[in-house]
Symmetry: none
DNA sequence: TCGTCCGGTATGGTCTGACCATACTGTGGT
DNA sequence: ACCACAGTATGGTCAGACCATACCGGACGA
């Protein structure tokens, strides 16, 4: 027997941690078995036994997959328990932005400014392209029936994401989605502070109308006004 | 019957997993202690004891932080061992965006449009605020002495990041930095395709001059022209 | 027959303690 | 000065245990 039977490539040592190996095995399994969203991975103990590793290694791999937005773990028993394949590729980006928001201790002003930049751009583009606005209309309708601030914000988020989608730029849409998810808390606070959502809903209708009319300038102005209404403290008391 | 020996602080709310708690504690610590890149977190065993949790929970938190690109673990002993803060989440953001760029099969058009949106905004803001431009000037000077496309792109990136920094919005600066890092390859290609960098350098001078002059409109126009020069194929052959 | 209750059980979540491989640290000998 | 070697702190991994949760299914009563 020659030496220590190095792998095909004579790499002297490839320090792969066990959980990385598990990670690869799971990914391979997902691909080979054609698992799709909603599918359930084997239980941690099962996987550990099948792969010949400790459960802790499997768990660390799960944490990574969870962080990457690939799976979601549920305790208990039954079809909904265990590691379920999720379809949230943006989750990771969201988490990262949230982390960023926290670590860099950004001010609300910076976040809102960023939103303003993105949404004005998106509204402008969507209007210029006379994009399909069915998604916007649907979210707008749902907003009208919202019973709580949380529910309202949910549809509000859907509206703004739909606007970003309508811009036709997927990268910007992804950033928008992450940003909205990260600042959901602030949005709820803003809605609760206002108490009444009729003004916000009117803003949304105005945005939708401007996009439908193919008027970029009006669309981005409507977006600006909307954010000013939602976060009045950040805007220099525009004239009445 | 006094329930089942509730923990000292009988808190029924326990929906967050322990490792998430650890995650928050570590993040808090990083922020409060002002830890920067290269700093070393306490050892896993130490953290576990300090936080009153098991080492496995600490490890799961570490896996998440590692996945997010916040820390990097090294075995052994000494100053380089343990969990080291690798980079502020900026580069993790970069990785994710790169992942997005790859997985979502984004078109260059979408990426450049995003840059255009961000840089026009940043230039406008920097000019309006008559921001400090020493960083821009330094990068500009360095560009003049670049000997290769790679080197030029490096200073070019520094220039554009400095512009984003000058806007005063850290979130946008972070996004800009990530975007630039992610598309470095395209930038090098663009420079090599042009062959000559004098036009690009002139663009940069024009941007700097506009910001110094406090002319937002001229600044964002200069940025637009610059990107049009670098990626002519994406712009509808503007008049001569 | 229907509904309720209750124990069985599978699952993720967590802790403990142990052992290994690694790589620096310090000490002592040359 | 230099080198060799034991000491030790660190992450990596495993095994086993216990908990809380939530579903499953049979027993029991109305």
């Amino acid at each position: 027997m020659a030496a220590k039977e190095t792998p095909l490539t004579d790499r002297p040592a490839k320090k792969t941690r066990t959980f990385e190996d598990v990670l690869a095995q799971i990914e391979r399994r997902i691909v080979e078995d054609g698992l799709t969203v909603g599918a359930r991975l084997p239980a941690e103990r099962q996987l550990a036994e099948q792969l010949g590793v400790g459960r802790s290694s499997v768990r660390e791999a799960m944490r990574v997959l969870e962080t990457l937005g690939v799976v979601s773990s549920q305790v208990g028993r039954g079809p909904d328990a265990g590691a379920i394949l999720t379809s949230r590729p943006d989750t990771a980006l969201t988490d990262l932005l949230r982390l960023h928001l926290g670590l860099a201790s950004l001010e609300l002003r910076e976040v809102i400014d960023t939103r303003l930049m993105i949404e004005r751009w998106a509204a402008d583009r969507a209007a210029a392209a006379r994009a399909d606005t069915s998604g916007l209309a649907a979210a707008l309708a749902a907003m009208g029936t919202a019973g709580s601030a949380e529910e309202f914000v949910e549809h509000d988020t859907a509206f703004h994401c739909a606007l970003a989608d309508a811009s036709g730029n997927r990268l910007i849409a992804a950033i928008m989605r992450s940003l909205r998810d990260s600042m959901r808390r602030y949005a709820v606070e803003a809605v609760e502070r206002l108490g009444d959502t009729s003004l916000l809903q009117a803003d949304h209708r105005r945005i939708l109308a401007a996009v439908d009319a193919g008027d970029p300038g009006a669309a981005s102005r409507a977006v600006t006004d909307h954010l000013a209404h939602a976060y009045p403290s950040l805007f220099p008391a525009a004239d009445g």
